[in-house]
């Protein structure tokens, strides 16, 4: 049974909002990064759904690309998290306010 396109979009939107809320509400850098990952997954979901809906393979190809990029991004981001922890022994994002005007 095909899942209707509207359901898939609604689920992706809900996932995106959850991710966004996580990004905005949490103070921990790790949690913000997790929020970003959730938002990216919501976007991937829209691609998959659209690919299935229009019977085109482009969306699936794009999602594979997105996964690869996300993996790279996470690797870089975690490396930076380790670096930030070494500098200030904290994971609170607002502590890193060196760019204050």
């Amino acid at each position: 049974m095909m899942i209707p396109f509207g359901h898939a979009l609604a689920f992706a939107a809900a996932l995106f909002i959850l991710g966004l809320t996580c990004v905005l509400a949490r103070r921990q850098i790790i949690m913000i990064l997790i929020g970003v990952e959730i938002m990216l997954n919501a976007a991937s979901l829209v691609f998959i759904a659209a690919s299935a809906y229009w019977q085109q393979a482009d969306g699936q190809v794009f999602v594979i690309l997105l996964m690869a990029i996300t993996a790279a991004e996470v690797a870089v981001a975690l490396a930076m998290v380790v670096y930030l922890w070494r500098r200030k022994k904290t994971m609170i994002a607002d502590q890193f306010n060196g760019m204050r005007g």
Binding site: L20, M99, G101
Partner: protein, 626 residues
């Protein structure tokens, strides 16, 4: 010989000046000195060589075009005619002798290259005034002599007063130059040409009212350069310069440039009756003013400066009375004897131990060299107008021209002229008595001066004494040779009955005798100078400096203070600083946005995204089914 070679006359001093400026200090002293002499002596010899070109209508020579734009066509043009040739000869001749004197006078000066290059440059600029056939070239020379005068008055600029005197001369003459500049531009607008010969030819086509205004403008320009009222305050202070400079620039040549300008443009100037009366009037008032000032001066060079002013006033009177030959005659004789007086004064100051005050001199006839006494006396009797000297004939010619002019106004000028002659005789003999008579009152020890400071005075003194031969009036058997020589350029023919002439001569002789007698009675034996309010008033030159200070300098300074404190610092600086503060406060507000907190940025990012999304949705709803 090509007539273009006439350009060698001014260019010779110029090239020597340039060489001295560029390399003078690197060469042994003898070379710059020789070059300076060669420049002027060469110009003098060339003038004699080219004398034939002045015959008839004179010669115009064009070297090339300077400016050419539309109807403006300014060329390097010379006019070597009967008016300019004698003046060129006088300037180069006197300048040569004064250059010789200057070498003796400045023998201990370390800055000789600057001195001699400026002196040569001055001769070049003066020759440019004299020979120019183009008013713009004349103006170039006019400014050039002003510049050299400034540089030479303030030659010893390390002393503050000298530098200030130079600046004063520069600024005051600049006032006159502005008026001259206006006159030149106006003449160009009216006639479409700057050539002096063409302007003189077209003069009668200009409407009489404008001619009068032009004449007055030219008069003010001439007043600035010739130190006539009201632009006369600079000349007495100009005596701060070295004595050869005073002799050359501030006695013989530059101060007579104004007279020469009026003579050069005489066909234009003479068309305005009012203008002529104004010229004579300025001359008369200045002659009287300067003569009264000379009565009370204490410094020998200042006495001579005021007497120069006074004698130039006579020349102005002559121009105003319509006799160019009379003015030029007095100009020539005056140049000779006044140059001698200044150079002799330099000698006197030297002997008196660099003492300027005539009340601390005295006794030089007995203790000083006899030569000096006789030379000084020869020039002094010329200045005083003792009969048979050059000064007597030239001054008498001017007085006769004033007397025979006809109108009552000119009779008044004549009266002033006669009274000034009395004062002139008095202050001249006062000077002679104070310097030479009695016992020495100063510390100066008589000692020898270099030969170069002695012999150049002789030819000039002889020329001054015998200057009358240049233009001997008909009634004493002369041929009025100068008047004949000028021909058409000579102005009015002064005619009078022989009885009247003899009467005036007798009067002039009587006046000189009275002047001498008064000076003899007063100063035969030394007396302390009077120190009352009148003599202080005259010593300060009728307080002219104070008047100028009150009328011009202080209001100008007050205006400057107002502009600086009132406008610039308050209004402009205040506005600008206010703007700076305002933008500073605003940027402070903006600065608060950059908290450096990641969460703030993220939420701002989200809100911005939301607003953009809302905006596009709104457009989608409104735009319909695109």
């Amino acid at each position: 010989m090509s007539q273009t070679l006439l350009f060698l006359i001014p260019l010779l001093p110029l090239s020597c000046a340039v060489i001295n400026m560029l390399f003078g200090m690197r060469l042994p002293r003898l070379i710059p000195e020789t070059l300076a002499i060669c420049g002027v002596l060469g110009a003098f010899l060339l003038t004699i060589l080219f004398w034939g070109y002045a015959e008839g209508e004179g010669t115009r020579a064009v070297l090339g075009t300077w400016l050419s734009s539309g109807s403006v066509d300014v060329s390097f043009a010379l006019c070597f005619d009967k008016l300019s040739a004698p003046m060129t000869l006088m300037v180069t001749g006197v300048a040569t002798l004064i250059h010789f004197y200057a070498i003796g006078y400045m023998r201990d000066e370390v800055d000789y290259a600057r001195f001699f290059s400026l002196l040569n440059l001055f001769v070049f600029a003066m020759l440019a005034i004299i020979l120019a056939d183009n008013l713009l070239i004349l103006f170039l020379g006019w400014e050039g002599v002003g510049l050299c005068s400034y540089g030479l008055i303030g030659f010893w600029y390390r002393k503050r007063e000298n530098a200030k005197a130079g600046t004063k001369a520069f600024l005051v003459t600049r006032v006159g130059d502005v008026f001259l500049g206006i006159a030149l531009l106006w003449l160009f607008a009216l006639t479409g040409t700057l050539s002096i010969t063409e302007i003189n030819a077209q003069a009668e086509m200009i409407s009489p009212g404008i001619v009068t205004v032009l004449t007055l403008l030219l008069l003010v320009g001439a007043c600035g350069k010739s130190a006539q009222l009201p632009l006369m305050t600079w000349l007495a202070d100009a005596m701060a310069g070295p004595t050869p400079v005073s002799a050359l620039i501030h006695a013989a040549t530059m101060v007579t440039a104004g007279v020469y300008l009026l003579c050069r443009l005489f066909p234009l100037v003479s068309l305005s009756v009012f203008g002529m009366a104004a010229i004579a009037g300025v001359g008369a008032i200045t002659a009287l003013y300067a003569a009264t000032c000379a009565l009370a001066q204490r410094e020998i060079k200042r006495v001579l400066a005021y007497s120069t002013m006074s004698q130039v006033g006579y020349m102005f009177m002559a121009v105003g009375a319509g006799t160019v030959s009379g003015a030029m005659f007095h100009l020539l004789t005056h140049a000779f004897f006044k140059a001698v007086l200044f150079m002799a004064a330099g000698w006197v100051i030297h002997l008196a131990g660099e003492e300027n005050d005539i009340f601390r001199m005295g006794g030089l006839a007995k203790n000083g060299p006899k030569e000096l006494f006789w030379i000084f006396l020869a020039a002094a009797v010329c200045l005083a107008g003792v009969p048979l000297t050059g000064g007597f004939f030239s001054k008498d010619g001017i007085l006769l021209a004033l007397f025979t002019e006809g109108t009552l106004l000119y009779k008044g000028y004549w009266l002033i002229g006669v009274f000034t002659a009395l004062l002139t005789a008095f202050y001249t003999f006062r000077l002679v008595y104070l310097v030479f008579a009695g016992e020495p009152r100063g510390e100066g020890q008589p000692h020898a001066v270099p030969a170069l400071m002695r012999w150049p005075l002789w030819p000039l003194a002889v020329l001054g004494l015998a200057g009358g031969l240049l233009n001997l009036p008909a009634m004493v058997g002369g041929g009025e040779s100068l008047h004949q020589w000028y021909g058409k350029l000579a102005g009015r023919q002064v005619t009078a009955s022989h009885d009247l002439e003899w009467l005036l001569i007798a009067l002039a002789t009587g006046i000189v005798a009275v002047g001498w007698l008064l000076a003899h009675l007063r100063y035969r034996s030394y007396r302390e100078p009077l120190d009352n309010s009148v003599s202080r008033f005259l010593l300060a030159g009728w307080q002219a400096d104070a008047v100028v200070d009150r009328l011009l300098v202080r209001p100008f300074a007050a205006m400057g203070r107002f502009c600086s404190a009132g406008c610039d610092r308050t209004l402009f600086d205040g506005t600008l600083e206010g703007l700076v503060k305002l933008s500073g406060r605003w940027s402070g507000l903006l600065l608060q946005l950059t908290t450096g907190r990641l969460t703030t940025y993220l939420s701002a990012f989200a809100w911005g995204f939301l607003i953009m999304l809302g905006w596009f949705l709104l457009k989608l709803v409104n735009g319909g089914g695109h």
